[in-house]
Every structure is written in C-alpha cells, then in structure tokens.
Symmetry: C2
Subunit: 246 residues, 2 copies
C-alpha cells in the first residue's frame, strides 16, 4: 500500500482518521446497531489493511466521543441510550438534597405542524416542511419538574403518535433509537432564567411568574446532523442543573 501518497495529500488526514470516518459511516448506515458488538480490532485491522494500533487509535477517539464503548475481554460495542451510564449525560438535573431518582416521562400532546422560521433554521429544513411536535412533562418522585416542547423533522419522525410514546418504556432517546434508528450523539444547550407562564406554572405546580430554568437544546445525530430541537422549562426548587467544567 502506498502510504506516502495518502500522507502527503494536500488536505492531510492521518490514516487513523480515515479509518475513523469509515467506522462512523458504518454506524450511520445502520450496519451495526446500538448495543451490538463490532468486529474485533484485529479483524478490523485486517479488513482495512492497517495495523491494529491504527484501528485502536480510531476506536479510541470514537470511544471518547461516546459513539463506541469498549469493554475489556468482551469487545467494542455501539453505544446505546439504553445503557444506564448514558442516562445522565443528556439530563443534567439532579436533586439538591437526596439521592438521584429515575425520571418518569408523561407525554401530553403530539401533533403535526409546518416548520416556522425558527424550527427550520434549527433543524436545517425548509420553512413549511412538516415537523412533529411533542409536549410532555418529566416527573421526579411523582413531582412534575420539567415541561418540554420537542420539535422533530417530520421526514424522519412523522410516524410518532401519542400512544407510541405512552406505551414505550424507557427514555425518549432510547425510543428514537429503537423505533426510528436515530441515535443522538451530541447536543448544544442554551440556558436562561425566565418567569413561568401560566400554562407551565400550572403543570409544574409553581406560581405564575416564578423563576424557571429555560433550557433550549439542539441535538445532533451522526455526521452532525441536527435532528431534534427542544425547549424545556425546569423547576429548580428541589433540583439543580449540574455541569462539570473540564
């Protein structure tokens, strides 16, 4: 194999990154599903005609980005939102006092709409394209704590119904993963403090006008494709948004 031709190309990309891109492509194409093992490093090395160390470096990066999960002695797996270790990566709310509880999602509404200027900009679709909107409440220990409004491109999630959401056991991202083959890989959140509107105040059992944490999130799938935009209002009476600055 003529490596020098590859290595000295004008837009230099090391071999392991090319391997990485191939692996991401496999993940994106749905060849390997969340929770499944991928071929061993030695097999991938043979398949791509590179050394095991090069595959290793590619897998290392994908593991650091939480696309893959390594388990010594068992193999390398496609990351999944079913994995309990992934639960609190996208929901940063924790009780101020007391231990962590599991959240319970209560879907309220689900309807179709056409993308307005904001949704179309966020989701990188055209104004007027179909979108699906979900409204739900999140409870901790029976107490309503978050109200979310979730905007999804209809092209992908057009088939969602309220009943599907109600029947599903597990997190919303597990639902997207299992039912629609869409895995959320990373997200951007923008937080502000706002006053509770009447409707949210009722749902969260707080006074109208009391301070709530507004969390806008844009989630991306493989290839940095935006696939979900949501706005949540968090009651922070008994919970706080936890963040680690590395």
């Amino acid at each position: 194999m003529n490596k020098s031709a590859v290595l000295s190309s004008p837009t230099f990309s090391p071999l392991y990154r090319q391997i990485k891109a191939l692996l991401v492509q496999q993940l994106q194409s749905g060849e390997w599903h969340p929770g499944e093992v991928i071929p061993s490093e030695t097999e991938l090395a043979v398949r791509f005609s590179v050394s095991q160390g090069t595959v290793r470096k590619a897998v290392d990066e994908l593991a650091a980005e939480h696309l893959l999960v390594r388990r010594q002695g068992k193999g390398t797996f496609v990351a999944s939102h079913d994995d309990p270790r992934a639960f609190f990566r996208f929901l940063r709310l924790m009780p101020i006092n007391g231990e962590i509880q599991q959240a319970k999602s209560i879907p309220l509404e689900c309807w179709r709409a056409k993308a307005g200027p904001e949704a179309s900009r966020m989701l990188a679709i055209k104004v007027g394209d179909p979108i699906t909107v979900v409204r739900r409440v999140l409870q901790f220990a029976e107490k309503p704590t978050v109200v979310d409004e979730i905007y999804l491109p209809g092209a992908i999630f057009g088939a969602i119904t309220l009943d599907m959401l109600r029947d599903y056991q597990g997190s919303l991202y597990s639902f997207f993963e299992d039912r629609f083959g869409v895995r959320m890989v990373r997200a951007e959140e923008r937080l502000r403090a706002v006053a509770a509107d009447r409707s949210s105040a009722e749902l969260l059992h707080v006074a109208e006008g009391s301070p709530l944490l507004s969390v806008e999130r844009l989630s991306f799938s493989y290839a940095d494709k935006p696939v979900e935009w949501r706005r949540g209002l968090y009651s922070t009476q008994e919970h706080c948004y936890f963040n680690e600055l590395g």
Copy 2:
C-alpha cells in the same frame, strides 16, 4: 527495571498512569510554571526509564484534561489561563445575538471572614478558619451582567486586597495563577433559576424579583483540591449559558 512487579501489584495501575502521576506532582510542586515548556517526550522517557510511547500516553491524558498543551514542532507546555483558548472554558456566558465580547471585571469589595458551615464544607476547611471573600460585577459591552461572590481559603489567598484586584489586567483565574501560583483545573457548577434580590437587581439594572440564573461553582486545583467556591447571579436578558453535551 522489574516491570512485572509493578504490573501485577494488587492495585494495578499501568505504567503510563504512574508517569502521569509523577508529571502532575511536578506541576503541583510548581517546578514547571504555567506557560512554560516541559522537557521533550524523549527526554522524559529517558528520565523515567520508559519508552517514548508510554510518556506519550501519559501526556495525552494530561492534554485531554487541559493540564498540558501540545504544540507540534514547539513542545509541550503547561496550560495557562492566560491562553485565550482557555477563556471560555470557565465562563460559559455568550450573547444571544451578536458576537462574543470580552468580559470586564469590576471588583466591588474584598474582606476577611471566618468560614461558616457551608464555606467550610465546600472548601474542605474547618468552621472558623479564615476565608477571603470577594464581590464583583462582570460587564459585557459596559452592561453589568453577572454579580459574583467568591469565597477563598485564607490560608492560600489571605493576601488579596481590593487594590490588587483592581490593578490586575486579565481574568481572575490568571490572577490566582500569576500572583498565588494556584491554577484552577476543573470545576463543578450547579445552576438554578432564582428571583433577583434587591441588591443584585440594582447592580444588574433589572427589576427586583425578575428571574436570574444562579450559578454556584466549586473549583479545584491539582489533586482535586477545592480552592474556590463562588455564587454568581447572571442576567440572561441578552446572554445565555452555553453548554455542550458530549
């Protein structure tokens, strides 16, 4: 060197982690200062009697944790808060519209006190131990946006005065680094939405009772030693707290 004795010890720690620990120790002891180069990989390999690859893996992890910064062709440097790339790692506030501006810190007060139960718990010191408290406002484009109250262990920061803070050009963490040799390595933040009290409302030019973002931060130096606890109130009229969920 008898590696097997090391490798098969009951609390197994790979060689590169031991090297990493040694490097952290050097950083902590102040042998290498922020902004300076550290010895080259090959020299460290000789010094520690390991291969260059092992040193490399140790340095890789420290670079990922932002303790070191690698620059191809130049060397490996001790990370510093003076580096513009580090500015926005600890201040996650950005304008909702418009481009990023530089923050301006306005120190208001600086006094000594004795640690109460909360400060002592956070800073891992005894109740009654001396602490230094700083109060300041942060401005963006001349608009007051954040009011901070900062609690520091007096044993380390007892010498701080309001004049020192006023005279210093640069961020507070650069100040700690330059003047006290204390480098903040990571931090935990807890966010809530609260109503503005009278004093903060005046400082931030908002109405009393309007929603503010409360950000409590505990910062750690090397060896996970807590060295700063602060509470900030952020006005999120024109700014938002940006967070990336990896």
